[in-house]
């Protein structure tokens, strides 16, 4: 009898079929646990041995004491580096997700389509040419000058890209990628020219922009760029429903009550601000923005309300792990983290490309 009942009963309650919310939330719990583990590992990972990380953490909270050396290494070197890695990873993954939603295709990525290059150009220009700005402006912007310039560079290239690739509400993937290459090459050339004119001191500052690194992270840099990143992370979920609606096309999104033009401006601003801030403190770290959302969509689907928070967490995990690899492979020297993400992300991107051939041929 029980056998018959179980055969007649639906395999899943009808209300759950097609609803991937529970799956997304379960995944989020798992990702949060993984993030905590990776964060602690990141604090304990490094050339200096015998560091009492838990002791140093507890001492800051007033529980027990730790040596000055341990306090300095954990709190002044590793902690800002860990926080930077987590924030940048989250921001890159969320920007990638927003950008893919905005361009309505899974291949958009700030690194691939020249937004990072534009931001890098802004940052390099600020480092080399910042000294020529009126003193008043220099004083007013202070440490925020580089993130600000990176933001402006990223914003300009995103706007130009969108204008070129979108016609009549339809974004051509081929045009977008090709325009991204052209923009990247152009900004790269101008950046190269500025670098060529830079002094030796400035060159040292510039070397890490190309490949990206979280090694130079300090509390001061975090204080300048961190708030921008946090702001864009907090604002991203407000775009979620609009991004879902946009997947059906601009007219449909409009019919569903989305102010499409306003939403697009907001999304572009948010991507540019967050990528600009990331580039300002870590240089270009590629592929996080394309790999993370793609993996998550395979598991939990494209609903942005559920996708964006998980992308932030997984992005943080990926960058922290990549940073740990970059610290290990050629120890005691360090590999720029951008090389690690490119080695891992490049083949992955090719795989997505092959899977999405049909989209590309549109």
């Amino acid at each position: 009898m029980a056998f018959v009942t179980s055969r007649l009963a639906p395999r899943r309650p009808a209300a759950l079929a097609g609803d991937r919310q529970m799956r997304a939330l379960a995944l989020r719990m798992a990702l949060i646990l993984a993030l905590i583990v990776v964060m602690l590992l990141s604090l304990g990972w490094g050339a200096a041995s015998g560091i009492d990380v838990p002791g140093a953490l507890a001492a800051k909270a007033g529980i027990g004491t730790a040596s000055l050396r341990d306090m300095a290494i954990v709190w002044d070197i590793r902690m800002p580096r860990m926080v930077t890695g987590a924030l940048v990873g989250a921001a890159l993954a969320v920007s990638g997700t927003v950008m893919q939603g905005l361009f309505r295709n899974p291949l958009a990525d700030p690194g691939l389509v020249g937004v990072s290059a534009g931001a890098g150009f802004g940052a390099v220009a600020a480092i080399v040419l910042g000294g020529f700005l009126p003193v008043a402006i220099q004083a007013a912007t202070g440490a925020a000058l580089i993130p600000l310039a990176a933001f402006l560079g990223g914003w300009a290239s995103t706007l130009i890209l969108y204008k070129i690739a979108t016609r009549g509400g339809h974004t051509s993937v081929a045009t977008m990628l090709l325009a991204g290459i052209a923009l990247g090459a152009l900004t790269g050339a101008v950046t190269g020219f500025i670098v060529y004119r830079a002094s030796d001191d400035q060159l040292r500052d510039l070397t890490f922009w190309g490949m990206g690194s979280v090694a130079g992270a300090t509390w001061a840099k975090l204080l300048a760029a961190g708030p921008i990143i946090v702001l864009t992370l907090i604002s991203a979920p407000f775009l979620a429903r609009a991004l879902d609606a946009l997947a059906l096309g601009e007219p449909v999104a409009n019919h569903l009550g989305v102010d499409v033009q306003r939403m697009k401006r907001l999304a572009i601003l948010s991507v540019a601000a967050s990528v600009g801030a990331c580039v300002a403190i870590t240089g270009g770290i590629g592929f996080v923005g394309i790999v993370v959302p793609h993996l998550l969509r395979l598991v939990q689907g494209p609903v942005h309300r559920l996708l964006l928070p998980n992308a932030a967490i997984l992005g943080a995990i990926v960058v922290l792990l990549a940073d740990m690899i970059s610290r290990t492979v050629v120890a005691p020297a360090e590999l720029p983290i951008g090389i690690v993400t490119a080695v891992l992300g490049g083949p992955f991107f090719l795989w997505i490309l092959l899977k999405n051939r049909a989209i590309l041929e549109m």
Partner: protein, 277 residues
């Protein structure tokens, strides 16, 4: 009441709509018919606010150009000709996008059950977990209709009618589902809502529409009930072919059959002529 006055749309040097007046009443289904390129879809886009047109469109007295997207979305829903869905949503996830009032306020009663009711209405119960990108064209069209229905689930809300705009809603459907979808639109109007549909099939139009606007070359060529508008001379002139309108007994409404030109093969001529003999 939907009133559009002197709608003119120009693409480059081509005038797609030339001072078109269009009205539709709540509680009725109004069809827009006409040959390819006559401006049907453009008219629908103009009166839903999708494209900018000169002229004024008022939805129950309010100028749609002055309404916010959110406000418009609670008053009318639009089913476009089937479009591309960029990401692999499940059927349920896509239909839920129609919960427009969830856009302004987080919770509405029935958010859990309404999507399932909407899917049942279009005959797609059990499709909830399927990926939209893997459906057939006709199935996808019906999923989109379920989403659109959900957006304006009650045809009358707070004593104000809500409007359903359909752009060739049955073009991708088999004959059985054509009837299902037309019946849904008809019922929506019966319950007090307004329906405006761009139609290709003149016979389905005659069967379900209360009023018809016939367009040709961007101008209105006829307005009235299907019986008034669907005359041999009228239709033949607009569509550029010989059309014969009949009123077969069980249905009683106009029934249009194409009359093949004389140089067509014999069997087509005979079958087209058969009902008149």
């Amino acid at each position: 009441m939907l009133e559009a006055h002197s709608i003119t749309v120009t693409y480059g040097s081509r005038r797609v709509l030339d001072r078109v007046d269009f009205t539709a009443k709540a509680g009725e289904m109004t069809a827009i018919v006409g040959p390819n390129g006559s401006g049907k879809t453009t008219l629908l886009k103009a009166i839903t606010g999708e494209i900018v047109a000169s002229g004024v469109t008022r939805l129950d007295g309010q100028n749609i150009a002055k309404m916010s997207p959110t406000e418009l979305a609670t008053r009318r829903a639009v089913l476009p000709q089937s479009g591309h869905v960029a990401f692999p949503f499940t059927v349920l996830e896509l239909v839920r996008l129609g919960l427009t009032r969830g856009f302004a306020t987080s919770a509405t009663t029935g958010q859990d059950t309404l999507p399932h009711q909407a899917l049942a209405r279009v005959g797609l119960s059990g499709f909830e977990g399927r990926s939209v990108q893997e459906l057939s064209g006709g199935e996808r069209q019906r999923v989109q209709l379920a989403r659109v229905l959900l957006q304006i689930w009650e045809p009358v809300l707070d004593d104000t009618p809500r409007w359903l705009f359909l752009d060739e809603p049955v073009s991708a459907l088999d004959i059985g589902h054509q009837l299902v979808v037309m019946q849904i639109a008809h019922d929506f109007a019966q319950m007090g809502g307004g329906v405006v549909a761009v139609m290709h099939d003149l016979n389905l139009t005659a069967m379900f529409a209360d009023r018809v606007t016939l367009l040709d070359q961007g101008r209105v060529q006829g307005v009235g009930t299907p019986k008034e508008v669907f005359t041999d001379a009228h239709l033949s002139a607009c569509y550029g072919c010989t059309l014969r309108t009949n009123t077969p007994p069980p249905f009683g409404g106009p029934w249009i059959l194409p009359q093949a030109a004389s140089h067509h093969p014999n069997h087509i001529r005979t079958s087209a002529r058969a009902p008149h003999s």
